[in-house]
Amino acid sequence: MAEPKKDARREPILEVRNLVKHFPLTQGILFKKQVGAVKAVDGISFELYQGETLGIVGESGCGKSTVAKLLMNLERATSGEVFYKGQDITKLSGRALKAVRRNIQMVFQDPYTSLNPRMTVGDIIGKVQELLDVVGLNPEYVNRYPHQFSGGQRQRIGIARGLALNPEIIICDEPVSALDVSVQAQVINLMEKLQDEFNLSYLFIAHDLSIVRHISDRVGVMYLGKMAEIGTDEQIYDHPTHPYTQALLSAVPVPDPDAREGRERIILTGDVPSPANPPSGCRFRTRCWKAQDKCAEELPLLAIPERFAGSDSLAAHESACHFAEEKDVVGAA
């Protein structure tokens, strides 16, 4: 397990400022005109420090995977900046972009479709045998094809490929959600070991809140293209102040039948609104039990809520809610 790695004075290795991605919606076949936009990511800012793991959680459609693609420059950002060691990588192209990509690698959810079926593992990874050893696979497997491996082994290959160029940052998009429980633990342990060994920074995107807590130093919660709340794992899980985070945490089933009665469940009504037509003001207000007129009129900013400002309580972390208040929903305290 990683020791606490937060140090406010340290320079972030990756700095994301006001990142926006709108996918245009068009109408017409010959003469396409834009009739709207899917606001997949709508103004997101965060930092990633050397050697830390930042977890990003949220439900499907909240934009977390788009963030990963933007950071890799697989999608061009509509606006905003991503600074890697002080350099804005959203504007780069050609050779300069290639050089940066060497240092930012990605591990995908589906280890099968993200490996080329017609290349042997040796071809895929490069300086192979050493790396296979690092990720706990038999180096003799060099000449095998992806279909000859199990899911967990494939994900190890995906990780080995990510490591091949000695990157500093690895962006993991749902790296273990396709794996069985018993294999999941093996891959998580491997990722933590490699982080210590190579001083890697992880951006760990997942929908499984328990796994994110386990591996992350800090956690950001996304809802409909915006960051709802961000803080250390303890701040988010034990002292959440945003109603969405509270609802999300309370909905996670805990593997303890004795907790069945005692836990309070916040059951949200309705579905996530369409990102093509998000609600005015706070994005969460249509499903929020605290919503008032102010929430429809005024967009809450991601900041330390005034009532907690200057306090040394763990509730004093950034939360984008007009009526932020602490609530223990996990029942750890």
Binding site: M1, E59, S60, S150, G152, Q153, D180, V181, S182, V183, Q184, A185, Q186, I188, N189, E192, H207, L209, S210, I211, R213, H214, I215, D233, E234, Y237, A247, L248, L249, S250, A251, V252, P253, V254, P255, D256, P257, D258, A259, R260, R265, I267, L268, G270, D271, V330, G331, A332
Partner: protein, 345 residues
């Protein structure tokens, strides 16, 4: 068997349900698949039972045989390649494997209904949901189109789909994932079955939607006093809703127990390993316990206990002798030679 009258307005009590006896009993069920590469023994002697009002969770990883068992109960296995060489599936005391196709069709849907993981591919994309729901009433009860549609709206209301009367003519793609799963539940409930088999009903859903759907399912089960077989790999969901659990590994039940006992004190090393390998939401743990190795290839299951290559407790006897299901306590069993050591930590 007469048509079941449901205590519609009296919320059924669980204990009362239990006294009405066993609904379904699976006895020594074996299922094989004959493939080009050889015989895959997917299910090797499974036993379990469910009573009215009771929830049995069948827990296992991919390839453990949990879904194949369910498909055998429903009678929806493709035969060939599948074959049931041995076993009985008793529904209210009658062996369904000995019934004619006609008799089984009368039970399927009407007495035992199934909910699948993927609602989108289980619904016909070119027919409205109202038509598909109404089909249950038109085919099984001979209702007119109009009456069937009215019933469909009623059902959609019951599973809390907002503005049901307006949405009854919509097509599956116009609904969100959670709403589609509600439609699947509505369809399963349509003929008021005695037993519902839910195969990973919430795996494809987000956590907040999962909570809504599981809540709904539990409410309806209580209201109709149905038996529920919940097939899942999620130890969290199981802890929330199950009365008893059967843990499957490589086509066998390795442990079965009431839910509290199993979580408190597992009697099989595999169950213990599973419980130790999941990260917890309410505490930041140290390094996760990982069960070493991989689940076995069912073409070539290891001799003796199928779990022995991955088991920290394995001895010589585990490599040669298949452990029988030892009785640990009343209603509790473990298929481990060393269950006594395991249960004591």
């Amino acid at each position: 068997m007469t048509t079941i009258s449901k205590p519609a307005d009296v919320p059924a009590q669980r204990d009362q349900g239990k006294s009405s006896g066993t609904l379904l009993e699976v006895r020594d069920l074996h299922v094989e698949f004959h493939t080009r590469d050889g015989v895959v023994k997917a299910v090797n002697g499974v036993n379990y039972s469910v009573s009215a009002g009771e929830t049995l969770a069948v827990l296992g990883e991919s390839g453990s045989g949990k879904s194949v068992t369910a498909q055998a109960i429903m009678g929806i296995l493709d035969m060939p390649p599948a074959k049931i060489p041995q076993g009985e599936i008793l529904f209210r005391g009658q062996d369904m494997l000995k019934m004619s196709g006609e008799q089984r069709r009368k039970i399927r849907g009407a007495k035992i209904a199934m909910i699948f993981q993927d609602a989108l591919s289980s619904l016909n994309p070119v027919l409205s949901v109202g038509y598909q729901l109404g089909e249950m009433f038109r085919v099984h009860q001979g209702l007119s189109k109009k009456a069937a549609k009215a019933k469909s709206v009623e059902l959609m209301d019951r599973v809390k789909i907002p503005a049901a009367s307006k949405r009854v003519d919509d097509y599956p793609h116009q609904f969100s994932g959670g709403m589609r799963q509600r439609i699947m539940i509505a369809m399963a409930l349509a003929l008021e079955p005695d037993l519902i088999i839910a195969d990973e009903p919430t795996t494809a859903l987000d956590v907040t939607v999962q909570a809504q759907v599981m809540d709904l399912l539990a409410d309806l089960q209580r209201e109709f006093n149905m038996g529920l077989i919940l097939i899942t790999h999620d130890l969290g969901v199981v802890a929330d809703v199950a009365d008893k659990i059967a843990v499957m590994y490589a086509g066998r039940i390795v442990e079965h127990a009431p839910v509290h006992e199993l979580y408190k004190n597992p009697a099989h090393p595999y169950t213990r390993g599973l419980l130790d390998s999941i990260p917890r939401l309410d505490q930041k743990g140290q390094e996760l316990y990982a069960i070493k190795g991989l689940p076995p290839n069912l073409l070539n299951t290891p001799p003796g206990c199928a779990f022995n290559p991955r088991c920290p407790k394995a001895q010589d006897v585990c490599r040669t002798e298949v452990p029988p299901l030892h009785t640990v306590a009343d209603g509790r069993g473990s298929a481990c030679h060393f269950w006594e050591e395991t249960i004591n930590g």
